[in-house]
């Protein structure tokens, strides 16, 4: 029983001893945090060590221009930091051979700087985020105009599809659409694959494969169109 009372007294005493938690802004001054990794682009060699050593994998190597190595131009890459994923440990700065990454004594809050519309699309790739933003706006206009448009009273014939006097039977209206769509998708995939193969290994053999595939597709297309006509 006395053990419980002791624990209770200890708890009350601790409750009045002040807080250990500090405000994020003090991380700059108290020396506990190392700061924010900042890249100095001109010093960077593009070796990619930082992205390999990063514990939460917050560093991605992105293409950034070209550089000259031994008289030849090769593509150069540069790290880009995902500050939402970063744990601010500073290992990237430790490992950097050119000292291009420095830990700037700032609070992470200053770097990420969240505002309201960003919360919705937080963390998505820019390509995905832009698509969502545009689609949301377009859908909003569509929905609003549907709400604002007037509504009249109509007889049952107003909502009948226009068939030009032909009696409706939905089963027979299909018109090769599915097989044609499948043909187009096959064609695009085959061409894209050959093209990628050609770009990966630009030699005459790969080019012959691309041309052969195109020719086969051409003949198949001729066959499909003959079948329509027949």
């Amino acid at each position: 029983m006395s053990a419980y009372i002791k624990a209770l007294v200890l708890g009350v005493r601790e409750a009045f001893r002040g807080r250990i938690t500090e405000h994020l802004s003090s991380a700059v001054s108290n020396g506990f945090a190392r700061g924010v990794p900042i890249l100095e682009s001109s010093k960077c060699l593009g070796c990619g060590l930082c992205s390999r050593v990063c514990p939460p994998r917050a560093i991605k190597m992105r293409p950034a221009g070209r550089k000259v190595v031994g008289g030849r131009e090769v593509p150069r890459e540069e790290p880009s930091f995902d500050y939402f994923r970063c744990i601010y440990c500073g290992q990237c700065a430790d490992v950097c051979p050119a000292k291009a990454i420095t830990m700037d004594r700032r609070s992470p809050v200053d770097v990420v700087n969240i505002t309201a519309p960003q919360v919705l699309i937080l963390g998505a790739a820019p390509q995905v985020a832009s698509f969502l933003v545009i689609a949301a706006l377009v859908a909003l206009v569509y929905w609003l105009s549907g709400k604002l448009a007037p509504r009249g009273r109509h007889g049952p014939s107003a909502r009948e599809p226009f068939s030009g006097g032909v009696p409706m039977s939905s089963s027979r209206y299909r018109y090769y659409a599915v097989s044609l769509m499948a043909f187009v998708l096959f064609l695009l995939l085959a061409e894209a694959l050959c093209f990628l193969y050609l770009l990966a290994s630009p030699n005459a053999q790969a080019f012959a494969v691309l041309l052969l595939a195109a020719l086969v597709i051409y003949l198949q297309g001729l066959w499909v169109s003959r079948r329509w006509a027949g």
């Binding site: 519309p117 832009s130 659409a177 769509m181 093209f195």
Partner: protein, 321 residues
Amino acid sequence: MGRMMEVLYSLVFPGVLFTTAMAFWFEYIDRKVTALVQRRVGPQATGPGGLLQPLYDFLKLLGKEELASEKADRVALRVGPVLAVTLPIYGMLYIPIVSTDPPLGFSGDLLLIFLLLAFSALSVALVGYAALSPYTVLGVGRFIAQYAMYEAVFMLCLVSAALQASTLSVSGLVTYQAARGWLALYQPIGFAAALLSLLAKLEKKPFDLPHAKQEIVAGWATELSGRSLAFMRLYEDLSMTWGIALLATVYLGGPLGPGFPELGPFAGFAWFGLKTFTLSVLVALISASMARVRVYGLVKTFWERTLLLVLLQIGLAWLLR
């Protein structure tokens, strides 16, 4: 800061605001040129010289009641127009206008453009099949047949351009043209074939089979009304904007021209505007003065002749690389 810039890109500059303004501008050019060819005056009353007529038509249709047929697939009818309008606007974010780098460009964005083209065809098919009637079915069937014909040609044209520049990114194509001159000069066959398939993609006059007015009412758009009709009409204009911008970028060097890097982004914008204006007048002229082909004529034009020429063009591009 980065996220705010993305929102700005998507909503204002190459995104929603700019692209829709440009789409209305191109529709105005199209209507005016068609009227000139037919010796009419064209839009005249709204705005200076009738400039605001396309915008007014869009708003008017938005404010009308939508009467969907009873058996229509509601989900497809809602998703289709929104998707159809979104895709070309999104595609404009991969077009370099004021600099050689598009706002969202990455190293394989040409492949993404292929995908967006396929999806935008899919969204039209979705809208057409949402409400089944003999005319929409005929329209969508013709649309997909036409898509099968021109997409192979268009894609192989882009492939031959990418092959010559040996890159898969739009910015790579533009930097190649900055160093060596326009690709249209090296690949005139590819450029002509791409223009031809663009006409088919936009359903312009020689290839307007999917909504042939005198034959199948309005084709895949027969059952549309109100906001859906407004959105699909806007889709056609946006698709024209995007297609012409794509052609101007791949073959005519996009923002490149005398004084572009020195005089800053405005020079690039001016050159881009001039090239797209010329292309849109050309497209409008061709479509205003041609008669419609038959479905078998479509096969003859694209599959039996143009595709072989484009294969030849790929061979030439391989040698020019």
